[in-house]
Amino acid sequence: MSRAAAHDHASQAAAFVSDSRRAHWHDQALWFVRAKRDKAAHGVAEWERLREDAAAIKRHTLARLAEYLEQFEQAAKGCGAHVHWAATAEDHNRIVLDILREHQARRVVKSKSMLTEECELNAYLTGNGIDVVDTDLGERIVQLRGESPSHIVLPAIHITKEEVGDTFHRYLGTDAGASDPTYLAEAARGHLRQKFLRADAGITGVNFAIAETGGLVVCTNEGNADLGVSLPSLHIACMGIEKLIPRVEDLGVFLRLLARSATGQPITAYTSHFHGPNPGGDLHIVLVDNGRSGIRSRPKFFDALRCIRCGACMNTCPVYRRSGGDSYGATIPGPIGSVLHPLRDIATHASLPYACSLCGSCSDVCPVRIPLHAQLLAMRGEVAESGELAWSKRMLMKFTSVVLRHTWLYRVAGGAVRWMVPRLPRRVVYNRWNIWGRNRELPDMPRRSFRALYRRRHGS
């Protein structure tokens, strides 16, 4: 366990929120998306039932995953697709590279896929001489800036339009100082259109894969996934094994939940269903495990595999909104990321389950009813058990527990605090180790505790 590699959310969050104007802007922008989600959800009377059905479908599928994966592979092959299996991220990257090389593909366009982010595919391909262009506008902005996406659905939510303008001026030749979103989007349209037309291959993620038919469903608002795979003749679809659903009719449930949860739209502009390749083309599907089967074997956390990557938990999380995606130091930020990443690497991501006030809003908003706040709490138990809890925290908790276990000790300690604090000079009370006192007054210390007053009034 390398301490040096451990990421600390709290210090990054403090830095983010110290720029109060920007933090408020970020918070408002994401709250707005949450509000749109509310409006959309309230327009569906059976919303809570849909959530339960979605959760049940995913739990069922997860239990029978091996069977459904085999059914899917057979059906997909029957449609003319090639199916590959990748146990690790490395396997996945190698498979994708091999397919590209086989087709002599050098220029690749890629639509949004958190899986490929997780596997760090772009860096791998670039390092192997492949030119990869992210075509989702937000991802392209982030790619040009050399940053990582800060949100899984709204990758550039942390970037102002002026900053986009600067980036586009630098790389796309837009006017200096121009920041009008319509003007900038138009420039990106032209720039990416050329990329689509010249691409040798298109890589997409998969929102849902249908076991009974071997089909893939990809949802976008921009149309970039389809442009990317319908111009070149090679389509590589990368999916985590948990993206499988059993039947076509299950799509009705998930597609009614997905866009409403993500952006407040009733459905994305394009919901494409691919059964086999484009005539004359090739479709390669890469099924990726990369730790998912491991998570599946952990009863406290396997529900996290239900995730349909809508981002609603991020939009609603009061901590994420005020700390920004980068502060999580992980591919997927926010509540779901704070469960998934520690599951892979508890040492590096030990601070993430604590980047949370346990408010539970994420659980209430999750379209597949992942009990996120309960999992975050359980993950804290894992952090403590694996020895990743800071020594000072452990000692404080041990000490506090001992005091609280013994009523007399608790009474003495409480009395001592109440007696001492009002008698100490203010600068002693509000010293630099009093973190509570940095921005808050301590409560006024009463002379007598409740139990003393109660005994006076009512006898012991």
Partner: protein
């Protein structure tokens, strides 16, 4: 062991409690006026609904759209209904359709709940046209409308191979400071011609 067997073995080694699939029979949301719901929702997502009464000319109806009037290269996938001036079949590669201003295609049916239209590649040799054209119009029979997505999937029979999609509105993005921009990478506009919609119709 090869990756497939490794993965399947890992899954089979950890049996989970079996949970039955829920029955999805509904009842689900339905609308008194499905066409009205479709029109309202389409407008909300940035599309345009144009009613074409029985006997009326779809081409005439479409002429209210400036982008159609001004279009120089029009590719129609439904030449019996509206004639274009560029034939898709003449294009040996999809790249040749790069400069199509306007595409008119057939929609199989409409979904009231979310203003989606189901479109396939059955009569579209180059499916990318739905995205590559600067503007898109879909022609749907007003009688072919369902209430919600559950009903929609009951109508679709996925063939062994093929491509189909729901199109709801024009392409769009809000990736720059949450400002909605219509016309991201795909078509800048979407017009849905509802043919035979002179009267309110029930849903199929």
């Amino acid at each position: 062991m090869d990756p497939k067997q490794t993965i399947l073995a890992r899954l089979r080694d950890h049996p989970l409690e079996d949970v039955p699939l829920p029955d999805l029979d509904g009842p689900w949301t339905t609308y008194e006026d499905p066409l009205g719901q479709f029109r309202t929702t389409l407008q909300a997502v940035g599309g345009l609904a144009v009613d074409v009464a029985d006997g009326e000319s779809p081409d005439a109806a479409l002429r209210q759209v400036a982008a159609y009037r001004d279009a120089r290269k029009i590719c129609s996938l439904v030449p019996d209904i509206i004639r274009g001036n560029v034939s898709m079949d003449g294009a040996s590669s999809p790249h040749e359709l790069e400069d199509i201003d306007f595409c008119i295609a057939a929609g199989q049916f409409a979904v009231a709940e979310n203003a989606a239209v189901w479109v396939t590649d059955q009569n579209a040799r180059h499916r990318v046209i739905y995205f590559l054209a600067q503007h898109l119009a879909l022609i749907v029979s007003a009688r072919d409308i369902v209430h919600n997505l559950h009903d929609a999937y009951r109508k679709i029979a996925f063939a062994q191979r093929g491509y189909g999609l729901f199109i709801s509105g024009p392409s769009k993005t809000a990736d720059i400071e949450q400002s909605l921009v219509i016309g991201a990478h795909g078509p800048r506009s979407l017009t849905v011609l509802l043919v035979g919609s002179s009267m309110r119709s029930g849903a199929g």
